[in-house]
């Protein structure tokens, strides 16, 4: 996530509205080392590190606030 990004904010709100437990990192507020780790992790999962990147149950990776794909992955 990014603290400045409106799509990221919408994503966080979506999880709150749907009572979905989530953890997030605002990469623009993280230090370089953590940023690098997050980028590498996203790339390792075969996705491009754009924001927001949502990882559902450690498996499904969704780039961008794609409500349809997030709902499908969460089965809601």
């Amino acid at each position: 996530m990014l603290s400045t990004c409106a799509w990221c904010k919408m994503t966080k709100q979506f999880f709150k509205d749907n009572d979905i437990e989530f953890e997030y990192v605002d990469v623009d507020l993280a230090n370089d080392e953590d940023h690098e780790k997050i980028r590498k992790d996203i790339e390792k999962r075969g996705a491009s590190p754009s924001f927001p990147t949502v990882i559902v149950d450690g498996k499904t990776v969704i780039t961008g606030f794609r409500k349809d794909l997030i709902k499908e992955a969460l089965e809601i």
Partner: protein
């Protein structure tokens, strides 16, 4: 100090100049403008709120709002990457507004984030800047002129409308320069 009003005015004026609209969702628009303001306070320039900036001008130049990718994105998808700038048909609901893929070339992103690139920039800014300009995915810029008013612009595609006389994009023609040998 930069104010939110100033950021808003700048975006409104830019949208008007290029024939775009700002996002109609007041809350969403406000979040984007706040993001731009925050980045301007952080870095000294309004880096895109939906991308990670490095704080190094040489590496962030292409993502300073309005970014280099706004016009091709609005032309292709009807909105820029952040959905700050929007095309008329999207505002009118004829085209759906949805997240779009990242157009910024991967090489530029990698250059910006790899530690070596950052180290290089702090030591030799000009060389890195040159390397970026020569990157393989550099957009092919051309010269275009407005057939109605003569306005000339150097960019990948002609603008959506002429910022001077508001003629439509169709009124733009490419300028081809020939070289002539004499004597």
């Amino acid at each position: 100090m930069i104010t939110l009003d100033k950021v808003r005015q700048r975006a409104e004026s830019d949208a008007k100049t290029y024939g775009y609209f700002l996002n109609p969702d007041a809350g969403f628009l406000n979040d984007l403008l706040e993001g731009l303001k925050k980045n301007e306070e952080r870095y000294g320039y309004p880096a895109c709120p939906c991308r990670v900036a490095t704080g190094k001008l040489e590496l962030d130049r292409d993502i300073i709002c309005p970014c280099d990718y706004r016009d091709p994105d609005v032309a292709e998808y009807g909105t820029c990457y952040c959905a700050l700038y929007i095309r008329k048909d999207v505002i009118e609901g004829k085209t759906p507004l949805q997240p779009i893929p990242e157009r910024r070339p991967k090489e530029k992103q990698e250059r910006a984030y790899s530690k070596t690139a950052q180290a290089l920039v702090s030591e030799k800014p000009s060389e890195t800047a040159v390397a970026i300009q020569r990157g393989p995915s550099q957009v092919k810029k051309k010269l275009w002129y407005c057939k109605q008013c003569g306005y000339v612009v150097f960019r990948e595609d002609p603008p959506y409308i002429c910022p001077i006389c508001k003629a439509k994009r169709e009124m733009f023609a490419e300028i081809t320069l020939g070289t002539y040998a004499s004597g």
